[in-house]
């Protein structure tokens, strides 16, 4: 165990200020989600009224369900494609244009979302695709795939290539060697990548609003449009639920990547 240096008063103060800056707004939102009052800014005592309201709000529930479906499917597809891309980039022979390929893979990381959203919209219009669940899912897959690729590739990069060679030496064909040795070792990174893709998709407003169609609003789109007509306390309740979900996912993802970096137990499937 490393010895943790004691915090000075200055450190404690700056830490507290920083945390307050980050989390005070969220904390206020969470508290006000339990507000009994109809007015967002006036405290009227504790109540679960707005949670009740939300669960009876059909449109809102549908948007939440849509968001979850999009997040799960796009995260799954992105994880599959991103993992394959990471393997191709770190394991494949040095093929022509490899640098270009990896550069292009990572471009969405820095590309403004408006541009990604707009270009996807143009593509879907050109293809005459009916906009809705699938177009949003595809758009989110494009957005999140590179994140998965980055996470998995860094894990693959730190993995000793001779492990796969040892498996082949001991009787595995290349595919079996990958499945029985490499895959268990990169599994935590794949899980972490999936979680990251899931939360990114759940959060996204910009790309979703470009690529969705009538009757297929995701939760962020729905909330945004409601807020424009005035903030209802119900929004606070929904946001609190989303925060809770994302917090759980992030904790699992960070646990997974922690397991991934401590080699010893890293095969534990999550």
């Amino acid at each position: 165990m490393r010895k943790v240096p004691r915090l000075s008063r200055f450190n404690i103060a700056s830490l507290a200020l920083g945390l307050a800056f980050l989390y005070l707004p969220i904390l206020i939102l969470v508290i006000y989600s339990f507000n009994a009052s109809r007015l967002v800014t006036v405290w009227g005592g504790w109540s679960l009224r707005w949670y009740h309201e939300f669960f009876n709000d059909r449109a809102m529930i549908e948007a939440a369900w849509m968001s979850l479906r999009v997040a799960v499917s796009s995260a799954t597809i992105a994880t599959l494609l991103g993992t394959l891309a990471a393997i191709a980039l770190s394991r494949g022979e040095r093929f022509r244009g490899r640098t270009l390929f990896s550069g292009m893979l990572y471009a969405p990381l820095v590309m403004p979302e408006v541009i990604t959203g707009l270009s996807l919209l143009l593509l879907f219009v050109a293809l005459n695709a009916e906009r809705g669940f699938w177009t949003v899912t595809i758009a989110h897959t494009t957005l999140t795939m590179c994140f998965v690729a980055v996470v998995v590739q860094s894990r693959l990069g730190s993995l000793d290539r001779s492990l796969e060679e040892a498996a082949m030496d001991l009787g595995c064909d290349p595919v079996r060697a990958f499945v029985s040795v490499t895959l268990p070792l990169i599994a935590p990174a794949i899980v972490a990548g999936w979680m990251l893709a899931f939360t990114l998709s759940l959060d996204d407003l910009v790309i979703a609003s470009f690529t969705t169609g009538p009757g297929a609003a995701t939760l962020p789109i729905r909330i945004y449009s409601e807020v424009r007509l005035g903030v209802k306390p119900e929004i606070n309740a929904i946001c609190t639920l989303v925060i809770a979900l994302i917090a759980v996912v992030i904790v699992i993802a960070s646990l997974a990547s922690k397991l991934s970096s401590s080699q010893g137990e890293s095969a534990a499937p999550l």
Partner: protein
């Protein structure tokens, strides 16, 4: 991972350890093997025969192609030219899992997600060995490398020496016809390395298995191997027993690579019966035994190992009859390097050159030890020198 695969031919070989030629019979034949990476010719036409039961070392500086050659034997690289025959069958293009050959990796390459037991059993499961038999074999291997009680540990809970043993047990478990060891002791500290050298030799003798070891450490190769192949720039420079390599190196490069040596560039040579009289710039005229292979017209040098050089205050007066033929060089002690068992003196010769002499410290209190700037006579017999083509 317990699925029952149909046994392949190779797996059956590996599991039963049969079909391996008897000791002393040729096991492996490498014929004109070459490998080029881009424009770099890593292995350049190597031919070699290895007998069953042999402990063979590939020795060379880094980048000489020894690891590439080993990887071609294991199947991780395919040779561009030549054949690799194992028991008469060409395996040059076979994939690693199709060869009855196992390898111990330099960094051990233990599977971090598997316990010691599962690491050792990995290859047996792949060969489709039954569960009970696998357990017996694993227990046998664990006992062989003295790892009892650690079967359930993960590799990161083991010391360097223990990891090395797991790697060895894992590579031996399939009873390969040929075991390849890539710098197996490089990661161990000196004391552990020395004891492990002994254990490896003992194990190889006991199992009667054929070992090929790759190393850059000449002492390691000399200690363990029955035969050594010295590689330089992708070619085999010499294949010989450790003694022959040391006492009769085939070239100046090998002489300098293996152990310490004094070299004097020759300028002229004169035949005198069974001896040659070589004129050197730095050590004057030296009398040397006639080399087995005649030296050509190119540059050449006289080489003498430091421990073959004797020092005395007045010269070898008592060696009656041989005095005329003895090489006698006068000089002063220029440097003293005390190494415990031996002391290495650097003698500045009156003729201009430097000569290293290694003297055994055979007495604890040595009143005759030489001191700096003392005048000494260095001498050696013609049979202790070799003439080398530069």
């Amino acid at each position: 991972m317990t699925d029952e695969l149909p046994r392949t031919d190779v797996a059956a070989h590996a599991a039963d350890g049969d079909a391996s030629p008897a000791a002393g019979q040729p096991l492996l034949r490498i014929e004109g093997v070459a490998k080029t990476f881009g424009t770099f010719r890593a292995v350049d036409g190597v031919s070699l025969e290895i007998k069953a039961g042999e402990f063979f070392a590939l020795l060379g500086p880094s980048g000489c192609g020894k690891t590439t050659l080993l990887r071609m034997l294991a199947g991780f690289e395919a040779p561009d030219e030549g054949r690799i025959l194992l028991g008469g069958k060409d395996i040059a293009q076979a994939l690693p899992h199709e060869r009855p050959i196992n390898m111990m990796f330099q960094n051990y390459a233990l599977f971090p997600h598997l316990s010691v037991r599962d690491n050792i059993a990995f290859g047996l499961k792949r060969a489709g060995m039954a569960r009970a038999e696998t357990a017996t074999r694993v227990a046998e291997m664990v006992a062989l490398v003295k790892l009892e009680g650690l079967e359930k540990r993960k590799p990161d809970q083991l010391s360097g020496g223990q990891r090395q043993r797991v790697a060895l047990a894992r590579a031996l478990a399939r009873r390969p016809q040929l075991l390849l060891l890539d710098e197996p002791l490089a990661a161990l500290d000196k004391k552990l390395r020395e004891s492990t050298q002994g254990e490896l030799m003992e194990l190889q003798r006991r199992l009667g298995m054929t070992f090929i070891i790759v190393t850059h450490d000449q002492e390691e190769a000399m200690t363990m191997a029955g035969r050594i192949g010295v590689m330089k720039s992708g070619k085999l420079a010499q294949v010989a027993s450790p003694r022959e390599l040391y006492e009769a190196p085939r070239s100046r490069w090998i002489a300098e690579f293996v152990g310490d040596i004094n070299l004097f560039d020759g300028e002229s040579k004169l035949r005198d019966g069974h001896r040659l009289v070589v004129g050197t710039r730095d050590a004057g005229a030296l009398v040397v035994a006639e080399p087995r292979e005649p030296i050509g017209t190119g540059k050449f040098a006289v080489a003498i190992r430091p421990e073959k050089v004797k020092l005395s205050r007045r010269g070898p007066v008592s060696e009656a009859g041989r005095e005329t033929a003895i090489n006698r060089l006068d000089g002063v002690i220029a440097d003293i390097c005390y190494l415990g068992g031996t002391t290495t003196y650097k003698v500045k010769l009156d003729t201009g050159g430097m000569l290293q002499a290694s003297v055994a410290n055979s007495a604890r209190i040595d009143v005759d030890a030489y001191s700096l700037n003392q005048h000494v006579v260095a001498w050696f017999t013609p049979d202790d020198c070799v003439v080398l083509q530069s």
